[in-house]
Amino acid sequence: MNERIQKLRQQSLDAKPTISLERARLLTEFYQSGQPERVSIPVARAMALKYLLDHKEICINDGELIVGERGPAPKATYTYPDICTHTLKDFDILNSREKVSFAVDEKTRKQQQDEIIPFWSGRSVRDLIFQKVDRPWIDTYEAGIFTEFMEQRAPGHTVLDDKIYRKGFLDFQLQIEDSIKKLDFFADPEALAKREQLTAMSIAADALISYAERHAEKLTELADSETDSRRKRELREMAKICRKVPAHAPGGFREALQYYWFVHLGVITELNTWDSFNPGRLDRHLLPFYRRDIEEGVLTEERARELLQSFWVKFNNQPAPPKVGVTAQESNTYTDFCLINLGGVDETGESADNELTYMILDVIEEMRLLQPSSMVQVSKKSPDRLIDRALRIIKTGYGQPSLFNTDEMVQEMIRQGKSVQDARNGGASGCVETGAFGKESYILTGYFNLTKVLEITLNDGIDPRTGKQIGIQSGDPSRFESFEDLMDAFRRQLRYFIDVKIKGNVIIERLWAEHLPAPFMSILIDDCIKSGKDYNDGGARYNTSYVQGVGLGSITDCLAAIKYQVFDKRNLTLPQLLDAMKANFRDAADLRATLVESTPKYGNDDDYADDITKQVFEIFFETVDGRANTKGGHFRINLLPTTCHVYFGSVIGAMPDGRKKGEPLSEGISPVQGSDRRGPTAVLKSASKIDHIRTGGTLLNQKFSPQVLESEDGLEKLRHLIRAYFTMDGHHIQFNVVTAETLRKAQKNPEKYRDLIVRVAGYSDYFVDLGEDLQNEIIRRTEHGVA
């Protein structure tokens, strides 16, 4: 890392996240100007974007090579009152909370109070959603059975393909014109609406082009007053680039990066697209430019690195927009889940890793920034070298990159009806979500609390937390004669709640389509231009809506406990178990120990438990998969939690697996914390018993201490472990290389860390099984191992 990058990186690390009302104010100004009323909604949205990009402050940081900030300064973070409006209390909490805070100054607070809140309250899409959904939806939402993504953030979860590297925005405008010309106003009843939509796209394209020009002007200005001749040259060069892209297709490596960055800013200014948009297969997109530039002698490897590093800093400068209705405890994260995809295969199915893949991995390792996130796609054709390179970064304890199974993702997409080429050009975004890049609107609609549904089933439809009847009456559990009776009740209860969720989704999808179209995003995602439809209204080639199941491990263990202790061994009756749960296992330590220690658990390659996992998976799958959404696509399932397993656990009382009231659920498809005791191969076997190919992504976390990965041999065996998991069609795995701090926690709370494997010179063993002295020695070694 050279001095320039060191400085830029440090600036980014030091920049304090603040709330910027720039977008909110400009948008309010525009919507108060009377102009929007004279045009259609899509056109108004496009004009609003143009107004924003024409008037926002242009920020160019000292020494940078790629320009453009979303806000007026690095980490000055926008709010989106058109989507959800922060209350003053939200601002106060954001300003004062310890973790993931955003500074809010007095002026901002006052503006929010005087200008923003009065205008947007009742108008924001969030307000509209809560007006339109029905009572059961609200009850279910409040009970913590599901969350709803689109009440706070725009339908997102999409990633760009290679189109911008071949075409400029002027070219896109020609395509748009062409589509308008082809409209058949006599035969197509939607032609008028399409014309509005396409006109909006064209305005949005203008908006980005003139935004880049504003940068060019500012850069020229700076160049004129710059005294350092080298920097002066640089500024001139950058001005030239901003005049060329995004209007025209990029001609070289640097132009390609700058072009993408403008597009990125366009997307995240238009809306707060959930799980921020990202360039996707960056190592592939940039390769032709890189090779040509190197060949022509206009780029060196060193310069390419520097540009990529500079590009990395830009991502890190954009924290995820903070939520509304925030709490001091639930701090969330600054990361916006931009997931750079590396490796994988090309559209012909050949391994796609190349010299840039490795260069970008170097950049990731050196930069060690929170954003962007990164992942490596591993196909059976990928070389070992690719995995090894990734593992060498992972073992330093930096949670990136995560590893994905390309061959499995391609199968997922083909099952969903995508073309082989689109599938191969795709990958994963956000945490683990599979998609056809540049061609799909894949929307995460919300997390779904499977374990809570079981709790309600065990209470005949009543939520024990509130005493409210929110589910159907699925039967008095004391009357269940067999485990099948229970499963049947669970199935009916689940169907009811999924119905509620999906009914709400239909309403919400329509609200977005009608009120907040995304003309800018529509330029970028095929086939919106061709179809004349908005990204938020089914314009994309593929439209998928996901419901993300949370707590697969927890619900399995709960059901396994009931099946084993109540119905098979008859050690106690279901009402007895329910009473102990109601009392949060007070005075039932022995029972709880039996449930925790001597009951089959998911994650141990034990078919007794894993068969139940499969049953739950199938029930969830059947209930959701294949239902139509309003955009010509379908609902599908995913199994991932982000951090929602904590919230979902907080609304559930004590459960049959011995989990106490309020404790977190298991996350992703990982076993309940500490319940896997047969080592990583057993975890992977359990995890691969569900059919990943019928999901849109699953998340598996595996903990290791750095010592296990210390030697080349350990690394190689880990690579084999990954390959074997992927041979079994596992979707994703990430390695959590534990820190000394985690080990200390494990020493204090061994119960939660029973799965933690450490290396003890020549042996690996469960950390919690070691004596204190030995544990301390390992803690010391771990501290030294990770810089």
Binding site: T681, L721, A724, T727, A761, G762, S764, D773
Partner: protein
Amino acid sequence: MNGIIFDIKRYAIHDGPGIRTTVFLKGCPMDCWWCHNPEARDDITGKLAEKTRTVSVAEVTREIARDRIFYDQSGGGVTFSGGEPLAQPDFLLVLLEFCRGQGIHTAVDTCGYAPTEDFERVSELTDLFLYDLKIMDNEQHTKYTGVSNELILDNLRLLSQKGSKLQLRVPLIPGITDTDENLEAVADFLSRLRGVDGVSILPYNRFGEDKRTRFKLEDRLGRLPDQSRADIESAAAKFRLRGYEVKIGG
């Protein structure tokens, strides 16, 4: 047929090539002062040996078969360890036969102290021996392990003559096995053997010590000084010098 084991570990990554499952067979004829697996010994019961159980061949083979995909992927297999796996020779043979039939790679981790006839039989079905060599001086050997090393060295010569693949394992016990004199003698002995594929130097760890204190076992060893990286390297160098590939830590 039944046997007694005290543990089965999956994802064993320090007991031979690839990803392995290690089956720990109960019983050991030796009595090393530094023993890191005291639970292997027949006289140890209770908490320390809580996983000790009598198992049928079928139970063990079922467990072995579970990680097949990992063995295939990594060139791994099964390691029979102990204690001393040859302390239950018939049980071991049946398990080895099963693996041979399934095409699963086998390693036997042995201290070498078992009847020579048993070694002859076992060697037919074993792909790799992980053979411990501790002390060359017989008097010292007898003192620290309770038995003479003659049989151990004879068996090693036999396996070498029969063409078995051998990985030597040398535990470095400070002041006892890690002396220059002993290591030179071990290395000299090795260089007269065929079939030695590599040498593993096992640095001293406090595993045994930890277990002895926790489970209040007799402790003849006391607290040994720490081993430095340099000590380990110099031990490894002695074998490298004689052309062996040396692994540190199994």
